[in-house]
Amino acid sequence: MNDIKNGPIFQPGKKHYVLCGDEEGLNTLNPIKQILTNEQMSFEEIHLILECSSEVDRKLEMQKIGTFLYVAAERKKLRKVLSMATKLGYSPEEAQYIIVGKEEKRIFCCRCHVISSVCGESIKRGILNCPACSLKLELSDHYSSIKDAYLGYVAEVK
């Protein structure tokens, strides 16, 4: 199960919304901001670039029940906020995490357990060789949040 999405989806009916992201991430959240502004709903923004992580942490911690959280950022920053929000008790139903920037996925080799990064064309093809043991792997959609990696299955049996 992947809890990271490619784009935000508006979640109506919440008391308050938090839009959190780096520069490109907040741009991605603009359509949501537009809806919230038009509907005159309560929301606030958190700039990940301008604010230190303890401040982000504090702002997320002081939110009340009924808050919906959008986080959009490049992968590493996103993972950091996701981990922080999960620790603070945000459930998957109360938040959306959107990845922006260059698409990159980590893949766990089912044979040797080494995790490597794949991006661009390799993700689209879904087939790559494990750099550690050379096994031809097929990128699956089975995701481990502990390892922040997708399972790579044996692509072909000779």
């Binding site: 766990f108 089912c110 044979r111 357990h113 699956s140 959609d141 390892k147 299955y153 044996v154 049996v157």
Partner: protein
Amino acid sequence: MKLTEEMKRFPYPFKGDTYRYTNNSTLLTPPSSIDITEGYLKEIQLKRALLTEHHSRSFQSFPYTNKAQWEVLELVMTDLSTYFPKSFSFKKEGQNHVFINHLLQEECEFKMWDETTLPFEPLDFIGRHVQEDLILMLQRDGDLYLDAGQLCFPANWSLAFNHGMSFKNIHFPIPGFKEEGLDERILQFLLRLEAGNPWGRKNWSLMAGNRMDTSLETFDVWGKDRKKVTVDNAGEFVHLRVEVQKLFRLPRTNAILFTIHTHLLPLEELIEIPEWKRQFYQILVELPSHIAEYKGISLYKDKVLAYIEKKEDGVL
């Protein structure tokens, strides 16, 4: 017809003439976490070799599982000495505990809850004395997580990858499991498990070959055997693989112990029992393609059916 001891004890898994994913758990009688079969010595030897040569593939644990691991050790040792008193002893002598495995002629003296008195982590230690794989799921925030496990005979999955995952995430690849709401129903069932009332179920698949250690890590080695099945060799080469799975709530830590005992039976023996042959054939004919695909049967299902038909007609 003379049935072998192996067949008499084989946990035949089917009830009707069709098969679908369900929560087919029933209350366990007797409530023993462990069973000892005639393959004991051979399987323990294999388990220990795997644990020595491929430890991270066969054992995973988070440090905070230590208390629950001790609970598993105590439960399993108690069950072994209760249900198999000739083969195992478990005595308390003051602070010290003595566990004796008479089958292996091994004796271990240790202090409960003192990890320095055992050669391995408690789950890793007791798992080396039983044929079962032992999975430990800890409960928090209304969910269950696979936080520790000793797994030597997996049916094509990776303990190292699944370590730390929630119940639903682990079962994410099973087709239809989420869509039919089965993942939520089984999770709710597991969350309601009570200490003292263990449950059991059987799961099955077919296997080309007779390997016990069908880990995902070695799929490139054994997966190709699926292409080697023929109508002529299916009887001895293809095996019905049955997992007897048991679920125990641990009263102190509230964790769940999940034991998996894997059994293999060659098709040529399975079809010796006419009712088994008829029912198994019907189930295979009717099996939906997504289930056959997930269980890894698709490549050779037709050959197995043809083998049974030919046997029926007396051709083979």
